[in-house]
Amino acid sequence: MTSSPSTLAPRTKQRRRGELGPVAKVASHVTLTVASLIALFPIVWLVYLSLGPDKDDYLHPGGILAKATLVNYSFVLTNTAFFDWLWSTLVVAGGTTLFGVMSAATTGYAVSRMRFPGHRPLMWVLLLTQAFPIAVLIVPMYEIFSQLRLVDSHLGLILVNCTTIVPYCSWLLKGYFDTIPIELDEAGMIDGLTPFGTFWRLILPLARPGLAVAAFYAFITAFAEVAFASTFLLDDSKYTFAVGLQSFISEHDAQWNLMAATAVLIAIPVTAFFYLVQRHVVTGLTAGSVKG
């Protein structure tokens, strides 16, 4: 990926300004380094502050270095509802992913392959619901859910999350299915498979990368959902991380040190996971929407 700058480019591809001028090169490196530092700094700072044992340490960060300790972490893990929150988050994000991706897959396939009456309006509705501001649904949902006793339940939150995730995943998967040659479907039909059979036995296995992207997107979105979770979850032990983290900072008492430690604990696995799959996510997200 990086060719040594002094060797002559052996391939024609590198003829196009393959070599940057020295000024341009320095300028590029400087810009990218500064940008990287800006990208990195808030996270590094959060990690650093999580080492300070006192809740006001963030105000005089110089002092943290001398007394850095992991005491915040052990406190969070042993004395807070951290594991309750972890469980809630996994239930909500997992449930949303399972339900969302499953229903989005069949729909994505149908709108990708079949021109049925109502096809266009459905596509339009899918696109539109993707753009739904939470404010439209949150009040009626709250009212309906309180009648159904779904407020303060994980099921309720899963259902709410599906309203945004299902349309998006349908679009994303439609884009992915579009890239699978339709000849395969035709071959399946000729071999006597029903459309379901074709979908299930031929297309779905091929679409695994697309499904993985949709699942990842659904999981991350549900994981980080703030508005509905903040409104619909009342019981401290049912909080997802997005709500639990807020609870360290109330008007009366801001425990920034504990908040920072919890944030780091949450961010590490998610970030690691993200880096593992990011390449596919990027292709999936843009392919899904570019191809429309």
């Binding site: 149908a110 009626p140 309906i144």
Partner: protein, 330 residues
Amino acid sequence: MTLTAPAPAAAENRRRAPRPVQRMRDSYRRYWYAYAMVAPVVLVLGLLVGYPLARGFYLTLTDANSLNSARTIGVNTIDATYKFIGLDNYAEILWGPSAYDRFWSHFVWTIVWTATCVVLHYVIGLVLAMLLNQRMRGRVAYRLLLILPWAVPTFVTVFAWRIMLADAGVINSMLGSIGLMEPSWLEDPTWQRTAAIMVNTWCGVPFMMISLLGGLQSIDENLYEAAEIDGASAWQRFRHVTLPGLSSVSSTVVLLGVIWTFNQFAIIFLLFGNTAPDAQILVTWAYRLGFGQQPRDFAMSAAYGVLLLAILIVFTSFYYRWLKRNDQLA
């Protein structure tokens, strides 16, 4: 996965598609499956979006708030006592005595916020993508560092920013140490807005950068060569090769960017809590009316929601039409 939902496709099919008989049978079979396949999503959207939407619209025509809605206190259930008041809520929002303070000022700020953020996202994202698209040492490392803000959940990073932007936080210490002013980012309205845009830009650039990088890499290098041979300057190559080559990616990411920014809830909500009335965009303001104050004004909040939806419908349908005209939609 294969849900069975018998769909009455045949009648519809016969009515809408007068085709040769042998094709009819074929398409009937296909439609049946199509309806069965979209049934789960149609059901989900109908129950979870359609019904609440209708219900929400009804609420906007009432004076519902948390004091007169149905609620349960202990074992007692109190029935709703709100009443129908027609379009009064909309009238009050749009041209009532406090229309400017409450709706229009937030409306203007929401537009400014969306436009500023998307432009910053796009421009910074494009510059970084182009830098990363060069042959240079360490570009993989740069790329991995630069997508970090995207990898970490927003609700985590916003708290990091809140600590950094505090009055005596690290940003003000840095500004102070080089002799610049130390704004109170989280208290002063103008600086609150600046801070919100800053944080949102930080969060949103990686997505743009990566998407545009993907777009750049798909541009045929021969086009650049040809342009260079024709004597095109760097600017001309950018203008006539790079930008057109990116157009399909750009149209998508800009649409997504506009929608996401317009609806961006988490950043403003978490950055300011309940403290910054002036930095609220319409979405967070609507939320605050419904859930962030006492008594909760459900009707007003829902009415804001309906207005937001109207704005987005207009925007999306224009955009959809534009995409269709450019033949980017099947």
